[in-house]
Symmetry: C2
Subunit: 437 residues, 2 copies
């Protein structure tokens, strides 16, 4: 019995019993897409999966075999809610590359950095509290804030990242409205989805504004080591220990399948995070942590990151040259200097979400811009990812996308608007359809 | 710099900014104990760590080596938020042992069953909602309910488990007070901490009462396969598919270090749980799930559970005979038929929490009964675990405990009460003290 037929024949007898926060939990547009866009014939420029095919499986295998043989009973046992001391030491070494001097005692290991966002939100957010987020922002974080019933206020970015004046204005306006701002959530490096980085000049300004307004910064930095010129930006946390919670992850520098990320927090906050982690999971997986420790110890992991950077740079180049070669003149995009994503702005009046089913029919997928806003903005934008498909596939995907877009623009020119084609809901994608194959 | 000195020299500048729920996150008494009771000279009858020293490391190692060599790039990649289809199929086979017929589509894999408790609570509980819990109940679950600002109402148990009449009365009284009951949290088999099982006769009664009162049951069953006579109780879920969310775990039948548990839920609820899981972690570890799948597939895992049962039975026997040999006549305890725990009731007036520092000084640790109540009850009870120490150590631990208890009773007889010795707070244990070494 397919998913859809089961659902349609069953009523949810619990519909009146869910918590208020459950209202805010909706299937994300990316998730809905996965089921369609994962078909081999579709070029997915939608997902954010790292390409880990070049990882040295022999090294990983050897490290884990050794782990099981020598420390198996420890690795397979319950561990500390805060994470293993060894990995927390190694995390300090990783963060030192970004100018951070930290004590392992101030780190909490999490189930991917997604869980770090969840735990920080859990300890700080009451319903109705405000979180400042970039415009656009990471959809997985927006989903967490929504699930804890936070209100999100977007702050504008330009090609140099978050705009200090816009941040000041947003803070002033939010405070004037009598609202409580709990923190600023920011991705300073190789932004998801915007693909841009906060300039060096602005970093002290952002820190100063938040310090003066007494606003905590949640610095999410999964892509920080993936700058294509090998340059590593100095973390905000490097210059402000008490006002910043820094989130890191091994998902992009090693592999996501172990689900290991971390939060570095001011000491008092760290204590709350450990309690929240124990309540949420008792402890993160000792096995996963020890497997990563061995990898970091036995392998030139930074050399591997260098190889990742080179590979992603090639893919970025493939995407940018394809965009230049194929996309209609009225489209705009940035050229990211690291990370996974390009943010594309379409000609005015083109609705990226409404266009998506036609794109998938043409065997290319992307994430519509609205997914990255809490307020419905972003309709004429899209996120294209270049991390997972090969350069050839990326070029072919962009070619297909340009074709769909041209048809859309023609249709619009002929009929005035695409408004007659109904906007789709993400849930529509749960139903496989022959149109899409 | 030690933990305590760092803490005492730093003020928490965030103290006014935490969410209301963070108030409810306190260091558990078990957690505080771990730092003291983990010293080798202390016999810890406090923890709930399974003894996994007999696991076949070669089998585990071979399975994982094969996993990395053949499916490494999949195992190390992001996976489904719901869990791998293969493991969910295998989980159905595991649950079939308890009479459950389920579809893999209705299972959500979680980061240990602790996370299943967290996610179910997240989707159902608004602040002030009531959760019915046994008296006593699992402290890790009480912590979750507290963190989501639920009110807990305890329902009495006797040697046959939850008392149907007490459940009916609790429901009636709670409803009469105008309160909303969201679910009953119950551990029907080899209860933590009470060590007892719900009788076969009462199971349909409990189901009927909850069905008639339209109350969801959260059936937590980590110990179900660890019955010492090899008998497997029929799950509540086996006879009620729509009114029960069943939680299972590989932590006690295999190993906790991979952090893999699950929830089996009515279909509509399962959809919410997947959304909650995606928000919390994006997805559980594919590597952990695939490692467990290989173990289940390659090994006589049920034979291993049989070996665990035999080993735990020996330890139960060691504890019971030591209790009989050493404990003062006025003490009472049950004889568990499975699981990890014995619940001991002390002579009236003895405060198990106040006695704990003296027990640890005498190199034995336990968990005071109050940890398992939301309302301060349980002061003259304690949980003793027989899962981790060897039979010899268990006997020695109980001998020491009996000595401490006799001294306490003498003191009480001489001076009338122990009330002059101040009750301790769990946080006191964070400070290492020479008294305890």
């Amino acid at each position: 019995m397919s998913d859809i037929s089961r659902r349609s024949t069953r009523l949810d007898q619990y519909v009146d019993r869910y918590a208020a926060r459950t209202e805010g939990m909706k299937a994300s547009e990316v998730r809905a897409l996965f089921s369609v866009a994962s078909r081999p014939e579709v070029v997915s420029l939608a997902g954010g999966m790292p390409n880990i095919s070049d990882l040295p499986l022999d090294v990983v295998g050897k490290g884990i075999a050794d782990l099981i043989a020598h420390d198996g009973p420890v690795a397979m046992q319950y561990g500390s809610g805060q994470g293993t001391p060894e990995l927390r030491e190694q995390i300090c070494d990783v963060m030192r590359l970004e100018g951070i001097e930290a004590h392992p005692d101030d780190i909490v290991v999490t189930v991917g950095s997604q869980q770090a966002v969840d735990l920080v939100t859990r300890i700080f957010i009451d319903p109705g509290d405000v979180v400042l987020v970039e415009a656009p922002s990471y959809l997985g974080a927006l989903g967490v804030f929504r699930a804890y019933e936070a209100d999100m206020v977007h702050v504008e970015m330009d090609e140099h990242g978050l705009i200090p004046e816009a941040l000041e204005q947003a803070i002033a306006a939010t405070k004037a409205a009598g609202r409580t701002i709990k923190f600023l959530y920011t991705i300073p490096n190789y932004h998801n989805p915007a693909g841009i980085s906060l300039s060096e000049e602005r970093r002290p300004e952002i820190l100063r504004i938040c310090r003066e307004a007494d606003i905590l910064i949640l610095e999410d930095n999964p892509y920080g080591l993936l700058g294509f010129d090998g340059r590593i930006h100095r973390a905000l946390r490097a210059d402000e220990a008490e006002g910043v919670i820094y989130l890191g992850s091994f998902s992009k520098t090693f592999a996501p399948g172990f689900r290991v990320g971390w939060a570095l927090a001011p000491h008092a906050v760290r204590e709350k995070l450990v309690l929240a982690q124990e309540s949420a999971t008792l402890c993160p997986s000792a096995f996963s942590q020890m497997a990563i420790s061995r990898y970091l110890e036995n392998h030139d992991w930074l050399g591997q990151v260098e190889a990742f950077r080179t590979m992603y740079k090639e893919r970025r180049d493939a995407m940018i040259s394809a965009l230049e070669d194929f996309m209609p003149a009225a489209c705009r995009w940035n050229v990211p200097t690291g990370g996974f994503y390009v943010w594309v702005t379409l000609p005015q009046g083109i609705d990226a979400k409404a266009m998506l089913p036609r794109a998938v029919t043409a065997r290319v997928a992307y994430v519509p811009g609205t997914a990255f806003f809490a307020d419905g903005f972003g309709s004429s934008s899209m996120r294209l990812s270049f991390c997972y498909p090969t350069p050839e596939r990326i070029r072919e995907g962009v070619r297909r996308l340009a074709g769909v877009l041209e048809a859309e623009m023609e249709l619009r020119e002929t009929f005035g608007a695409t408004g007659t084609i109904p906007a789709i809901r993400a849930s529509d994608y749960d139903a496989p359809s022959n149109d899409l194959s």
